[in-house]
């Protein structure tokens, strides 16, 4: 137990901050994912074949390639890509991107592919009459989507989004390979310096279980809130 003490003698405070980091990366990645989903869902549902192709390419590639490979691409290729863009604007200094940004972008793009599929499914299961009614009432396309379809879609999407959240939360453990100090990385450091890997990795597992358990409870509440009247 003294291994988990707060302060200089134990790893309690380090692991606590690492847990906060995991939560921060997960939430950022989830939001980045929503951003991608909001771009690619309309593409997948578009009536134009080329746009469909672009949308399908994104979800197929991301869901068919291991998360770790995507993370390595961002980790090794991220600053190169940014520097290339910067060189076009006449900036030639070395740019290093922070591990937090690389990690949340990589996990965000992965989580975005799953969110896109969830949104697509949810929109497709909305009653056609809703689209027609909105049209008949003369609401413009923007209003149709944001005021009529989106709120209804969210209710249908929440159960599946909770799965995406769980996947995203667990995927953040992979960012530890880039050196970002989240639960997994901190346990690795602690295990290395105390030579007690069994304890620290088991404790990491408990932390992840706790996170998944608590977030499940919160999402269930959200689900009840959004299905009022149904």
């Amino acid at each position: 137990m003294e291994l988990l003490a707060f302060g200089k003698t134990g790893w309690g405070d380090e692991l606590f901050y690492a847990t906060l980091m995991t939560i921060a990366v997960s939430i950022t990645a989830m939001l980045v994912g929503f951003f991608f989903a909001l771009i690619f869902t309309p593409l997948k549902l578009s009536k134009y074949k080329t746009l469909n192709l672009v949308g399908n390419f994104y979800t197929t590639v991301i869901r068919g390639v291991p998360e770790l490979l995507v993370i390595y691409l961002f980790f090794f290729g991220g600053s190169g890509a940014i520097m290339y863009v910067a060189s076009i604007f006449g900036y030639y200094e070395y740019i290093e991107i922070n591990a937090f940004v690389t990690g949340s972008m990589a996990i965000g793009i992965i989580s975005g592919a799953y969110s896109t599929e969830v949104f697509r499914g949810a929109i497709q299961s909305i009653d056609k009459g809703q689209f027609e009614a909105a049209k008949v009432l003369g609401i413009n396309k923007f209003g149709q989507f944001y005021k009529i379809i989106l709120p209804q879609m969210l209710r249908l999407a929440i159960p599946n989004l909770s799965n995406v959240w769980q996947i995203t939360l667990k995927d953040t453990s992979l960012i530890s390979v880039t050196g970002l100090v989240e639960i997994m990385r901190q346990s690795y450091i602690a295990a290395g310096s105390t030579r007690d890997p069994l304890f620290f990795y088991s404790f990491a597992a408990v932390l992840y279980l706790l996170l998944t358990y608590v977030s499940m409870k919160l999402i269930n509440k959200l689900e009840i809130r959004y299905s009022r009247g149904h």
Binding site: V65, P66, L68, L69, Y72, D171, L174, V177, A204
Partner: protein
């Protein structure tokens, strides 16, 4: 774009794909039995057996695969007693540690898939079997299991693809699988995009094959 690198790294990555496929097939094979075993335990009416099986699947589905591999590979070696038993022959090899972790992980997901498949079997089918005088054991093996397998094919197909992606974590315990070799080439040449295209292409190709095989099986064993 460095096409020469793409061409020269392709055979190296193909060799590494064999490792990935070995890991995948071994863990799916053992995982299927483990999953079936725990699915049957989940259907047991005894509350302790039931809770035990639920606990297993909850823990393995609620924690990242990376933690599971690390506990098995780095953690178990710490137990002095284990080092003296014959199990140590297996546990000191990263290859077998990875397979054990993947098996336990896919077993948990498979048990959930099979359990829900068992529960969706219409009671009428089992009753029909009973009224024909077929013994409970035969009903289970010859009627319930085949139907459950058919029911769970689409979900199991997804699980195979997820597991294929999961095997990439073997590279974190020093195994040179497809991702491991890709990472090695990237870190020596600093050309991540080229290597990503080749390695990602191989993974996508495997996903494509698995997807179509499952689709074919679904059609072949459909009830219509």
């Amino acid at each position: 774009m460095d096409f020469d690198l793409m061409i020269t790294s392709f055979p190296k990555l193909l060799v590494a794909t064999v490792v990935t496929l070995k890991l995948l097939s071994a863990s799916l094979f053992f995982g299927l039995f483990l999953g079936l075993f725990f699915a049957i335990l989940r259907l047991n009416k005894n509350i302790f057996i039931n809770k035990f099986a639920y606990g297993y699947s909850y823990i393995f589905r609620g924690t990242p695969l990376l933690v599971q591999i690390f506990i098995i590979y780095f953690g178990l070696g710490q137990i002095e007693y284990l080092r003296t038993t014959f199990l140590w022959v297996i546990l000191k090899e990263p290859y077998w540690c990875a397979i054990i972790a993947f098996t336990l992980n896919t077993g948990a997901y498979t048990s959930e898939i099979l359990r829900s498949a068992f529960q969706t079997i219409k009671p009428g089918i089992i009753e029909a079997g009973k009224s024909l005088g077929i013994s409970n054991k035969i009903i289970f093996y010859k009627i319930q299991i085949p139907i459950a397998i058919r029911q769970s094919l689409p979900a199991y197909g997804n699980e195979i693809i997820l597991m294929m992606k999961g095997t990439s974590l073997a590279s974190t315990v020093t195994l040179m699988d497809l991702t491991g070799v890709a990472k090695y080439i990237i870190s020596t040449t600093f050309k991540p995009i080229e290597v990503f295209i080749v390695a990602g292409g191989i993974y996508l190709f495997m996903t494509f094959i698995i997807h179509n095989v499952i689709k074919y099986l679904e059609k072949k064993y459909s009830f219509q």
